[in-house]
């Protein structure tokens, strides 16, 4: 289907199903239950899953395939965001021009950064991209204030021209919309104790992400994708084979920069403001974590990694001591105090500690990330079948990156 082989088609349909039914899947607990705080099925968080999923898919095209580790990809996301807000200020509140121009501007900026940074490889390349991103971050706060509005962040205003659309509706800023359908509009469905929210913005993100994911699959399976893996494997052999590795790495860099811009544009479409903190090195580091956590070089891994980190960020950070005491209410007081004391550093503001420990465990024990973990579990189940089928296992593991 769609020019994909059987295995990829199944994978694509699986991801499609997960994305379409996410409002159900992420809300497994009834509204009034104790566990409702573990529900992630609200629009804001679901949008972020998809947006950071796109960001990580794009980053993986560069890092997973070519092995070039960029520490500055948040800069492209930031540039995309600013471009998006400016489109909404100048043109129209329709999100399509905003998203489109986000991709274009991020692409142009990544062409410039990539052209310079790709003169070096390895750690020097990483440092160069980091330097560019931090430079953009600082400039956004200082010299470029007329464009970025400095610390306040770039926001919409009532007197923005919006030449194609309207400046204001009934004295307020018109909402971001997709040809008239506001992004914030949601349809709520109540079933028994459960409440499911279907948000217009979420489904726009879903369509965009599925397109982005589809393009990534095609790139992975193309001659171009194979050349990118050749860059990672042995650049010297590549050059002596008559291939110029520079345009290949630059193309991969620009494509991944455009994915980052797309993510930035979608962020703006969901919530029309842009701040410089989006370009900070911690944001660049986050996408590296997502990709490695999920499994660099795999197709679904980065999306899982993005979802995992965003889930931890939102859910773990919301658990506080009172909630813990609720959970341990059945235990004797002294024991409950002790347990809360032990768990305290890992929750609320301390969720980074939990994330850090998980990241270390995964990198040490599962260098291939979540995807490797799933593969190992899959193999465990396979081993129980008759030994005649076991012979196909080594061939399957020798197959190219998925």
């Amino acid at each position: 289907m769609l020019g994909l082989n059987k295995k990829d088609t199944y994978m694509f349909l699986l991801v499609l199903a997960l994305v379409v039914f996410a409002p159900f899947l992420l809300n497994p607990f009834p509204e009034n239950s104790e566990l409702a705080q573990f529900n992630a099925g609200y629009p804001d968080l679901m949008q972020r899953f998809l947006i950071f999923g796109i960001f990580a898919i794009g980053f993986n095209i560069l890092f997973g395939l070519t092995g070039y580790l960029s520490f500055g990809h948040a800069a492209f996301l930031g540039v995309g965001s600013y471009a998006g807000v400016w489109m909404m200020k100048l043109l129209t509140m329709n999100v399509i021009p905003a998203i489109f121009m986000s991709v274009v501007f991020a692409g142009l900026f990544s062409l410039l950064v990539g052209y310079i940074s790709l003169r070096r490889s390895g750690i020097y390349f990483s440092i160069l991209t980091l330097a560019f991103a931090q430079m953009s971050f600082s400039l956004a706060y200082s010299v470029l204030t007329p464009i970025t509005n400095g610390e306040t962040g770039l926001q919409l205003a009532l007197d923005d021209p919006r030449v194609i659309g309207v400046s204001q509706v009934d004295g307020s800023i018109p909402p971001a919309n997709f040809f008239g359908m506001p992004m914030r509009e949601s349809f709520e469905m109540s079933m028994g104790g459960w409440l499911f929210t279907f948000n217009a913005g979420y489904y726009l993100c879903a369509v965009v992400m599925m397109i982005a994911f589809y393009i990534a699959i095609r790139i992975f399976r193309s001659p171009f994708g194979m050349m990118l893996r050749a860059v990672k494997s042995n650049q010297q052999r590549m050059n002596f084979t008559g291939l110029n590795s520079k345009p290949y790495t630059l193309a991969a860099f620009v494509i991944s920069g455009m994915y980052a811009g797309l993510a930035g544009g979608l962020m703006v479409a969901m919530d029309p403001l842009a701040g410089a903190e989006r370009m900070q090195w911690t944001a660049s580091g986050e996408v590296v974590l997502m990709t490695i956590l999920g499994g660099a070089g795999t197709l679904i891994g980065p999306v899982l990694g993005a979802g995992f980190i965003k889930y931890c960020e939102n859910i773990f950070s919301k658990i506080n001591d009172n909630i813990l005491y609720d959970w341990f209410a059945a235990l004797p007081d002294g024991l409950a105090d002790a347990l809360v004391f032990i768990i305290h550093p890992f929750i609320g503001k301390g969720w980074h500690l939990t994330l850090g420990i998980m990241f270390m465990l995964i990198v040490i024990f599962l260098p291939g990330g979540i995807m490797e973990g799933m593969e190992r579990i899959g193999r465990l189940f396979k081993r129980r079948k008759p030994p005649s089928q076991d012979k196909s296992a080594p061939q399957a593991s020798a197959a190219p990156a998925e």
Partner: protein, 251 residues
Amino acid sequence: MEILRVEGVNKSFGGLRALNNVNFSVEEGTVHAIIGPNGAGKSTFLNCMIGRLAPDTGTVMFGDISLTGMKPHEINQIGVSRVFQTPEIFDDLTLLENIMIPALAKRDGEFALHAFARVDQDAEIHDRAMHMLEDVGLEDKRAVTASSLSRGDKRRLELAMCLSQDPKLLLLDEPTAGMSRADTNNTIDLLKRIGDRGITKVVIEHDMHVVFSLAEKVTVLAQGTIIAEGKPEDIKGDPRVQEAYLGGAHL
């Protein structure tokens, strides 16, 4: 007809004169061996030919194209392939992919943004790669990752990668180094077979057995200077060559 012509090449590393006014030419369709003791400058010479090192002075002509100043991928694109002393292959990729890459490079040039084509549906490239794998006897391992191969197999793979490009000139840097006797003989047979395709070969070699079973012409390099050149039989008896090899123990 001469396919490769090297004139007055000098190369120094700091105070060390690695190549001293080397003049050298290769006839089209022949197997030309370069021999010499350790440190004679054989690998430096090869690197100057292939664009990995720039000679200080002198010219390297491939047909009527000057190779000086050209980048490695440009030199490959005009028909010069190279087998390295330690096999340079794509370790993380399968054998089939290892050969598809050079085949694609030959067909599509140094850069092609075919990001939406399906590599597994490219019958022409696939067949070509399979054919090459059969030629070197590795077709059963086509789905195996190249890093798991033995050293001898890696070298055969590298050779197949070079041959898949139908090069006009093939440079081999010690193609049998570190191989068992049996593997060495297999490699000699393989190289003889590909000789039938009319590919000109320049072989750098230590092993005299290999040199005398393959080469039609031998050039002897010692301390960066050519000290003898001629048919293998003539070289065998040359006293200067025997002296360069410490009394001819190897011969």
